[in-house]
Structure formats: C-alpha cells, structure tokens
C-alpha cells in the first residue's frame, strides 16, 4: 500500500529525514518508535504532504502511484488521513462544515457536545484526540497516520481510542502507521510490527512488544551502531 524509498526530507533548512525506506502492506498496523526529534512526526507529515517538509531525494508511493508531488487534499482523497498530535484551533469553523454527524460514533467517542464549538477550541487532550478520531473514521481512509494518539491522554481515553483503532484495523484492506512515544496504547493494540527511528533514519524493526520492552530497558542509545536488524530484541 505504502512504499517509501530513500526518502530525504528538509524542513526549515535542516535535513531531518536521511534515507527512509519503509513498506506498509494492506492490513498492517506499523508502530513507529523513536526518541524526541528523531523524525517520527516529520515522516507522517511528509506522507500527508505538509508544505514545511520538502522532499529532496527519494519517493513516496501510495497504491503504486508516486504522491510526492500531490497536494495535501489530493493525498487525502486518495485515502491518506493524518490524526494530528496537536491540531490547530480553527476559529469559527466547525467539523460539521465538512463532515456529517454520526450519532452512533459520537456516542462511542462522547463528542456530541463539541460540535457547536470552533474546531479544537478549548478541548482537553483527551477531547482533542477523540474529535480527531471522529474525523479519521468519517473520512474515506485507506492509510491512517496516527501521530501520538496516547500523548496527554488519560488511560480511559487511551482505551476508547485503541478500541476504535482495533475496529478500523479489522478491515484488512486498511493500514496504519502509529507513532507512540510512551507506548501506553500498545497494551490495547495488536500491531503487526515496530520500526525504530533514530536521527532521521529507520535503524531497527521487530516485534512491537519486544522492541518496546528492550527500548524501555536499555534506551535508544544502544541502537546506535547496533547491526542486529531487530534480532537483539528477540533475546
């Protein structure tokens, strides 16, 4: 579904992605680990096409077609949706200005009361993520990009969000990349595999739970110079 090859990306005159290779197949939920500033969010935003992120080398293919020169809305119409970590407040604009209401989904996410507000105005961390999830579900999406759905969110909200992600992933024609920093949401998900990013590169991959346990134990510093390609996490 998604094929990224030798992707080099510049943002604010700085090279932030330095040769990313990543394949995501239909039905896969890929978890992206990495320390602060390693480029996880930048990778998701580059896939979505945000203008700050300029591809200087390499390519992104979605459903066999290069999307590197496509606009954000074109990518969305092709089936890519990004769940923002910190979405901006859009004054005077409501979600209903471009998406229909869905009573059942509103109930599941407890978001009915937020529809009269400007988008993201005065919402707590959990409320923001639930409204983002509402939009992700309502859009016709093939590839979901979840940017830290568990950051700044309490356990109850994490469970609600994870439940929805699991539901989405029941459809094996869909895929997702999920960035998590703290890993709390992993307890409630069944990701296919994990990849580890460091200094703008993917340096390791493996079983998500094992990789997470290893990182928690020894940190990311050990990954530097490690040539195991995921095998050390098997021990």
């Amino acid at each position: 579904m998604l094929s990224i090859s030798n992707l080099h990306v510049r943002a604010d005159k700085k090279l932030i992605l330095r040769g990313i290779d990543l394949e995501v197949k239909a039905g896969e939920l890929v978890v992206l680990f990495g320390p602060n500033g390693c480029g996880k969010t930048s990778l998701l935003k580059t896939i979505m096409g945000l203008s700050k992120y300029k591809i200087v080398k390499g390519d992104i293919k979605f459903m066999g077609e290069s999307i590197s020169n496509k606009s954000i809305d074109e990518r969305n119409k092709m089936g890519i949706s990004l769940m923002y970590q910190k979405p901006p407040v859009v004054e005077g604009v409501k979600v209903t200005d471009f998406l229909d209401r869905d009573e059942d989904l509103e109930k599941r996410l407890s978001v009915s009361k937020f529809f009269k507000r400007s988008m993201n105005d005065g919402l707590s961390g959990g409320e923001t993520k639930r409204m983002e999830m509402y939009q992700m579900i309502k859009m016709k999406t093939k590839l979901y990009l979840f940017d830290e759905p568990d950051s700044g969110v309490d356990v109850e909200n994490i469970v609600v969000l994870a439940k929805e992600i699991n539901k989405l992933m029941e459809d094996k024609s869909k895929s997702a990349i999920l960035v998590t920093h703290g890993g709390q949401i992993l307890k409630y998900l069944k990701p296919s595999r994990a990849v580890v990013m460091l200094l703008g590169k993917i340096i390791c991959h493996g079983d998500p739970q094992r990789v997470f346990r290893a990182i928690t134990k020894v940190g990311y510093s050990r990954c530097l110079g490690c040539k195991c390609r995921g095998k050390c996490h098997e021990k």
Partner: protein, 364 residues
C-alpha cells in the same frame, strides 16, 4: 409621494443585501433613487412612514429630526439638509416586542444619482425591534453617491438591533452619518456588513449611552476587495452610570484598504467597555486599526485589542488534510473569521458570507 410598482419585479433583486419584499415582514420601506416605492407596516405597534410624512403629522418627530446630528456638522449633513430627498421613520410603541425584521432599503438604480436621505428610528420604552437596512446600487448604476443621515433613539429598557448591509457598485461614494442615543437600561446592537466591492465608504456611527446601565454592541464585518476603500469604525460615549459597550470589527482585506477607527469615552463611574479589531490580509491589502480610549473617571474599565495578520498556513493545511482544496479551506477560514454565525441576519446574507470566492493565487 409613494409610487406603486410591480412588486413581483422586485423578487430577488434586493436579496444580495438580505431583503425580501415578497414575503411580508414586520414592515417594508424602499426608496429607489429619490422616490419611495414601498412603505408599509404590517403589524400593530410599529409605525413605518416616510420621514416627510411623519414630520408633517407629528411634532415629536420634527423635534427628533436634526436633534442628534446638527445640519451644519459637515459637508454631508449640509448636503442632506439642502437636498433632502426623503427617508424612513420607524417607531416601535412602548412595550411592543416584535420578532422579524423591519426591512428598509435605500437603493440607487440610475447613473449619476446623488441620493440624500434622512432617517429617524425610535425604539419606544421597553420595546424590542430589529431594523434591517439594505443599501445598494441595482443594475448598472454608475458614478452615484449616497449621503445618509440617521438618528436613532433607544428608549428606557428598549432593545434595538440595527443591521446594515451594503452592496454598492465599484465606483459609488458612500457617506452615511449615524448618531444613536440610548436611555436607561436600553440596548443598542448594530451589525454592519459589507462584503462587496465599493469605491469609497466613510462611516463612523456614534452611540451616546446617556442612561444608567445602558449598553451598546457595535459590530462590523468587512471584506475589502481590490480597489475598495473603507474608513469605518464606531464611537461610544459612556455617559450613563454603569453603562457598557463592546465594539468589534472583523476585517478581511483581499487587496482593499481599510482604516478602522474605534473610540470609547468613559465619562461616568462604573462604566465598562471593550474594543476589538481583528484583521486578516489575504494576498495584498492594507488594514490600519486605530483604537482609542478616553476616560475622565477613576472608576472605569476600558480595554482594547487589535491584531492584523495573515491566514495561518497550519490551519489551511489542517483543513486540506481533511480533503478540502486550498480554495475551499481559505473560504471556510474567512467565513469562520468573519464570525457571522452569532449575528441574526437573513439566510441570504449568511449564505453569501459562507461562499466568499477566493482567487487561486490568494491560496498560494
């Protein structure tokens, strides 16, 4: 003189300023060039006549004409005084509370017309009324000038909402002059909306809050296109004890020039006021915000804030990530910024504001 015309021919002609003479509302008044075409009140408790007729019949109206605004104030008042065509007189009776709009229309349909109108509005004590005034050029009328004087009296405990929508041709000179007097506990809410191109508008309504606990809320929603010049704003004199006001301007410049003035003068104890001007420049344009505060009492609370900037790229791209094109995202952001949702306006106006056309280069 009231001239009878086929009202069906007017269907939709005035909808761009939110007026609809097809369905009878609280009352309708239409002056075309210099002649009154429609003048009627459809409900008890609201008088609607021409100002000339009202002055002939009622000495109180005579006293109110040229009371708040002096004939010799400036060139415009002198012109209106000497070349007075006519105008409307609206009065809600004491205690009458009415839903719906008193629709008044000041229209120019011919080339080179200089229209001089004078209006008087009276909201009787404890009454409630909404006057919707649409001012426009129709057809291909060119090189015209609209000079208007409006004196508004808001009685004790009364609430008057006064919404003015302008849609002029791109070479019309527009000079309205308005003064409002609000008595004890009275409320005056004004909304000024102009989203069409105009040559030059100078407009600066002044509200005098004479009564204690009187209140004014004056809002302006402006879209200034290339070639348009606006010198607009509002002033409030807070003379009554514990009187308060909110002056708000939302301005989008798409190449037009806007000077937005606002002044609050606190002249009694316990007065409160806030003045807010927010501007967005899309592509090129000019917005000059001039907020002023004056107080002569230590028990006043007057504040102001002003900001001018561009549409946030993050916001536009966020909406694009929801599938909206760049133009659609810009349209939505501008509509949201103009924040007309909370204003009671006819659907035709709300719909027009929801579809502000954005040229492609403005989103690049």
């Amino acid at each position: 003189m009231v001239v009878n015309v086929e009202e069906n021919a007017m269907k939709n002609k005035y909808s761009k300023v939110g007026l609809n003479f097809e369905n009878k509302d609280v009352g309708e008044f239409l002056i075309d060039n210099k002649d009154i075409r429609i003048c009627r009140s459809n409900v008890d408790g609201v008088e609607l006549t021409s100002l000339k007729d009202a002055c002939e019949k009622d000495t109180d109206v005579q006293k109110k004409k040229w009371f708040l605004i002096k004939k010799e104030s400036d060139e415009i008042t002198k012109k209106v005084s000497k070349g007075f065509d006519n105008g409307y007189f609206v009065r809600s009776k004491k205690g009458v509370k009415i839903d719906g709009f008193v629709q008044t229309c000041l229209s120019i349909g011919d080339n080179g017309v200089e229209q001089n109108v004078h209006n008087v509005v009276v909201a009787g004590d404890f009454s409630q009324m909404h006057v919707l005034t649409g001012c426009l050029t129709v057809g291909k009328a060119k090189q015209s000038q609209h000079n208007g004087v409006t004196e508004i009296y808001v009685g004790k405990g009364a609430k008057l909402t006064y919404t003015m929508v302008h849609s002029w041709s791109d070479d019309t000179i527009v000079r309205p002059k308005t003064v409002i007097r609000v008595e004890e506990g009275g409320q005056f809410i004004s909304n000024y909306i102009c989203i069409d191109k105009v040559a030059d508008i100078k407009m600066y309504p002044e509200c005098i809050l004479v009564g204690k606990k009187s209140y004014a809320n004056m809002n302006s929603y402006i879209l200034a296109r290339t070639g348009s010049k606006f010198d607009i704003g509002a002033g409030v004199q807070l003379k009554g004890k514990n009187s308060s006001c909110l002056i708000k301007a939302r301005i989008v410049s798409m190449g037009g020039e806007v000077v937005n003035r606002g002044i609050m003068e606190g002249e009694n104890g316990g007065v409160k006021g806030h003045l807010e001007c927010s501007g967005l420049i899309v592509g090129k344009g000019l917005i000059h915000a001039i907020p002023e505060i004056k107080a002569n009492n230590d028990n006043t609370d007057l504040t102001h804030e002003a900001s001018v900037g561009k549409v946030s790229k993050d916001v536009l791209e966020y909406l694009q990530s929801r599938g909206l094109t760049a133009s659609q995202a810009m349209e939505l952001v501008l509509r949201g910024f103009l924040d007309i949702n909370n204003v009671s306006v006819p659907k035709t106006i709300a719909k027009r504001i929801s579809r502000i056309p954005v040229e492609k280069e403005m989103t690049d």
